[in-house]
Symmetry: C2
Subunit: 238 residues, 2 copies
DNA sequence: CGAGCGATTGAAAAGACTCAACCACCGTGG
DNA sequence: CCACGGTGGTTGAGTCTTTTCAATCGCTCG
């Protein structure tokens, strides 16, 4: 049976059932350069789904059943601290793969994932994904490289968290977000942004205002646009 | 030519040229369960070296040439922040492998590694290591699993850094160090410990004193011994 | 014995957080 | 069409943690 919601979803202009062959995933990241039989297999095995803003992909502690490939939209990957406060570890954009770490560790999810905006996200079941990895050396090496890359990013992240002031971390975070959002303005709730930077919402708001007064930033209700990247880089203290 | 230093090293009681077959690496981690021809290959390819306390294995920005396998001793893996302050990302103990991330990413080292005490550390050249990985599915899967595991650990680490107080982080760090040091007292300079926790040395010293007064800890010049693990866990705020 | 480094202590200052109140916007229901 | 309630955003004030800077101590090594 098709619910009213899912019908509405299908009619939503942001929803497109796309072919893997035209998906951004092929432009970068893991599935970069995949083609031929491999691509056909992928096309056949993946299931395309629409997620409304703030919909959950998976939660901490649940059993991993496959990987998620973002076709369109943004997804936050986060973890909850002791008091339930979210720490955003990563924000995935179109073309990114989510949840593959858990495929290999044999553990339950240690993080949760949730859409930040209306998103198209494909799902590839665990067995299918692991099969592809097992029999495709290129893909396999890609995975290893990807894991290595993320590990390195996180070492940076840890160092920043430990040594930088909140102001510097915010500047640094905005630079990362610029890459993720590309031409579009950064579109995050104050709370999500605070949870990415690792600070209190109020502190974040005050700093955003300062950055705006410094002429680095344009602020709309929920949208941030970086005007002066150079200045931001110097504020990030690198 | 053999230098005086290296002769002295060889005479040092802490130096033992061990066979891989008796190395702790086989008890856990990547080389867990390796045997037969594989073990012989490893034995033939690896070079055993002695590192005095505070000796560098590799520095940030240098070219990775192979992996390091700790036979005996401890190694800190760290990164320098903007003001040159070290952030210790990881402390490797006997049986741990170091520097394998860089084998796969094709980049220069993003972190540095240095011995924390007199250590025996074997070296396996890049080609040999990659060969082993390429042709040994078990080993390969082990690597992927290891990378995944570390990724998960670092997500925790980031969350802790972002949300916990320094006191909680210290308690948490001491618990991690208990695992690493096992029966031995934790043996780190105040500065290294501070750089692991991510705080100023002075703050660290004051908190250690408090923990001692709370009856959690015994403090010697450089050695820390946890007395009350339960209390420490509650202090870590989990 | 003196230099030097790591460890320690004290006092002041800065940074960030918490709490409380208030505002602005938006969708709902009357 | 408008009042209402709720959510997310913003501001202010006070407090607490943590850092910084300066000084001292104690030990080891040459």
């Amino acid at each position: 049976m098709i619910s009213f919601d899912s019908m509405k979803s299908m009619l939503d202009e942001s929803y497109k059932h796309v072919a893997c062959s035209t998906c951004k995933s092929r432009g970068h990241g893991l599935f970069n350069g995949i083609s031929g039989a491999e691509l056909d297999t992928l096309e056949a095995q993946r299931a395309c789904n629409f997620y409304k803003k703030t919909q959950s992909l998976f939660v901490e502690g649940s059993t991993p059943r496959g990987v998620y490939c973002v076709n369109h939209g943004k997804v936050k990957v986060f973890k909850r601290g002791d008091e339930g406060k979210e720490q955003i570890i990563h924000i995935a954009k179109a073309g990114d793969l989510i949840g593959f770490r858990a495929m290999f560790s044999g553990e339950l999810y240690k993080v949760a994932a949730e859409s930040l905006e209306d998103s198209n996200i494909c799902f590839i079941a665990k067995e299918d994904f692991l099969n592809m990895i097992e029999f495709n050396p290129t893909l396999r090496n890609g995975i290893i490289k990807e894991l290595s890359q993320e590990l390195s990013d996180r070492a940076d992240f840890i160092t920043n968290m430990a040594q930088k002031s909140v102001r510097e971390r915010l500047a640094f975070s905005l630079l990362i977000l610029m890459d993720i959002y590309g031409e579009d303005p950064i579109n995050l709730s104050r709370e999500d942004l605070a949870n990415f930077v690792g600070t209190a919402t109020e502190t974040l708001i005050r700093l955003l205002k300062e950055f705006k007064e410094d002429g680095c930033l344009e602020i709309e209700v929920r949208k941030l646009r970086v005007i002066d990247k150079i200045k931001l880089i110097s504020l990030a203290g690198n």
